[in-house]
Symmetry: C2
Subunit: 402 residues, 2 copies
């Protein structure tokens, strides 16, 4: 096949893609309101503009006191303190507050309501408290200047809670428009599908790639636009790619990556821009292409993914998701031997299984890169890198979790 001579290694390909991302992403952000930021990718390092708590705060419903005033108090020997309503207390004074309220000046502890009895102008307390007892202290949770979230991190509900608690209303998030185009005469967009029988009769297949890739883009915290499928026609494909490049920062095509008569994608991209690589030493997913183009003075990136969904999912994972939202990984024992070839990176979908009380990795047996059903059963994947011939049963292997 034509691309064989240009095959590069997975890590070289990854580095080339990541470099281009770094170049392009400089100004690709938008300010997002914090209550809409969940699931997006943070574009900036955020440091705390203030402490949390911002002040010494009661951790309980009860009474603020000067701890030293309470020493020795007990059920049989209560201590009596004067109830005041000022925001500063003196010796022998006590101030009623609820959980979360700011402690009055000079107070340094809180007696829980349960250990008190309030009268008109004084309170009996039945237990002593030490300094800072039942107090959430200023800066205890976050100190001014602490790093709250790093550039590139996915914003979780917990980040939203933390960032908003600091009084931050907006946050910079990646803003990238990603266009998705599937090519192939045999494809039928789901909108155009009337019945299952129609597929059988016409020998067409549903354009599931556009939907899958769009959803992978969403899962990565970015915004996709899925276009209608494009037939294997040079003019229409060129028009579609140019339109998508105009309207997006990144365009992802699926299909048309091999060298059949009808695979015009690479040819067209060569005309429009500059192919950075075409063909990577990975399995599945070898015929992946990556290119750049300048449209109206703006740098655009193009990924040419396979038509096979398993291959395109792997290509998306290694070169796109891996940049914006790298997977969590753990090292676990593999429960059977698995072989690969030197010089090639194999991506193997796996399930987590429990064996003899341990969590182990079970590689899924699959035939061919078209085997969709293996993808929905996998808990993650492992990589057999190019300098490794495989793994032996019970070896610890890094697994990347979906």
């Amino acid at each position: 096949m034509k691309f064989v001579k240009e095959l590069i290694s997975r890590s070289d390909a990854k580095n080339k893609v990541f470099e281009k991302f770094e170049e392009m992403l400089d100004d690709k952000f938008e300010n997002i309101e914090i209550n809409k930021a969940f699931g997006k990718i943070c574009f900036e390092d955020v440091h705390a503009p203030c402490n949390i708590p911002m002040f010494n705060r009661s951790a309980m419903d009860g009474y603020a006191v000067i701890a030293e005033d309470t020493f020795g108090a007990s059920q049989t020997n209560p201590i009596i303190l004067n109830l005041v309503k000022t925001d500063s207390i003196n010796e022998e004074e006590i101030y009623r507050l609820s959980t979360g309220m700011k402690l009055p000046e000079n107070s340094n502890a809180v007696v829980m309501k349960e250990y008190t009895k309030e009268y008109d102008s004084f309170v009996e307390i039945y237990t002593g408290v030490h300094p800072n007892e039942n107090v959430s202290r200023i800066g205890e949770d976050v100190k001014t200047g602490d790093l709250i979230i790093k550039k590139g991190e996915l914003i979780t509900p917990y980040h939203v809670a933390l960032i908003s608690s600091l009084g931050i209303k907006k946050i910079k998030c990646y803003s990238l428009k990603i266009g998705v185009i599937a090519t192939g005469d045999e494809l039928l967009d789901i909108e155009d599908l009337e019945s299952v029988e129609q597929l059988e009769k016409t020998a067409m297949i549903v354009n599931s790639n556009s939907m899958m890739v769009s959803d992978l883009v969403k899962e990565t915290g970015l915004s996709p636009t899925a276009y209608r499928k494009v037939p294997d026609n040079r003019e229409e494909l060129e028009k579609a790619i140019k339109k998508a490049l105009l309207e997006n920062d990144i365009v992802i095509t699926t299909g048309g990556t091999s060298v059949g008569d009808r695979d015009y994608t690479i040819e067209i991209i060569k005309k429009i821009g500059n192919i950075i690589f075409h063909g990577v030493q990975i399995r599945p997913g070898r015929p992946v292409g990556f290119a750049e183009a300048e449209i109206d003075g703006k740098k655009k990136l193009l990924f040419v993914l396979s038509g096979y969904p398993v291959a395109s999912a792997v290509q998306f994972e290694l070169f796109i998701a891996n940049y914006f939202k790298p997977r969590k990984s753990v090292k676990l024992q593999i429960n059977r031997n698995i072989a690969s070839s030197l010089g090639r990176t194999d991506i193997v979908r796996v399930k987590l299984v429990e064996r003899e009380g341990f969590t182990k990795i079970e590689p899924l047996r699959i035939t061919g890169s078209g085997v969709l059903s293996s993808m929905t059963k996998a808990d993650g994947y492992l990589m057999i890198k190019e300098n490794i011939e495989g793994y032996e049963k019970d070896e610890f292997v890094e697994v990347y979790l979906f």
Copy 2:
């Protein structure tokens, strides 16, 4: 505290909640178009209505043949077959096709284009193929009747690809309206926040809980409505809870779970409905409440979560997320001793760390349940269940991954 006498175990509480979910969820679904189903929870077992592939399909660009006709072909000894364009071939005939196309009748293998030379009416082939070579066989990926996705599974981009490939245009997903209410005089909705200084001056805190809980609901594949914060005022709180119950299937409140003067939530819910439990033997998160109510003849469920974000996040995780979207878990070694008390379930946030080439669990040291920053650093959590006093260093412990 009042609720202490009613404390129930985590597993009892979980079972009570899950039972009520089962009762309520019977008819809580909607038909979602498959290209909008990603991230939602599937409401039905879906079985394949057809095979994938639906027919024997070429896995390569090339020529369909009867394999037996090609035996013995080689570079030096090509075999010549007659090129036909019918959808059925006979002995000694050959048919041109591209990847993904249906094989003509009687053909049983594909010769890759690379090993052929086409002339006007015939094709020379330079390699033999065995039956089924370069063919994706009918049902190879999915067989009619195969279970594709189970009720309760989260729909991934891979499910979308698989389900749509089967010609399924819509899928039943959980449809639950979930209202989120935060209570507390000290809360300031983010919309009303003008500056960080405002917080310090007024001793208020941002209502981050409504946002966090809403985002947790979204993360679980369900749809939240966040209401404005409600002050600690019996009438307003009652009005707000009733309104939310009318407009939603489930209402989640945060704050007002303890027994302070101003904590009216439980009191109000007792009036409107039936408290199923209030107080669970967990740490953090003990004062969690769960109730049911009937509004206009419709069963509604109510969760009364803590005002502390870490506590409310844990309560949400154990009783809500755990039903709709249980976490993936792995058993890993813990890298230090960790103690708990019998009779109580401790939920401990952890980080994954690499130690001596192994992935180990490192419990995060936190003080108090208000420590927000620990949540954003955690990779997951472990549970020290009520019948366990703790774990020793290097013991294998199940960790639930975020």
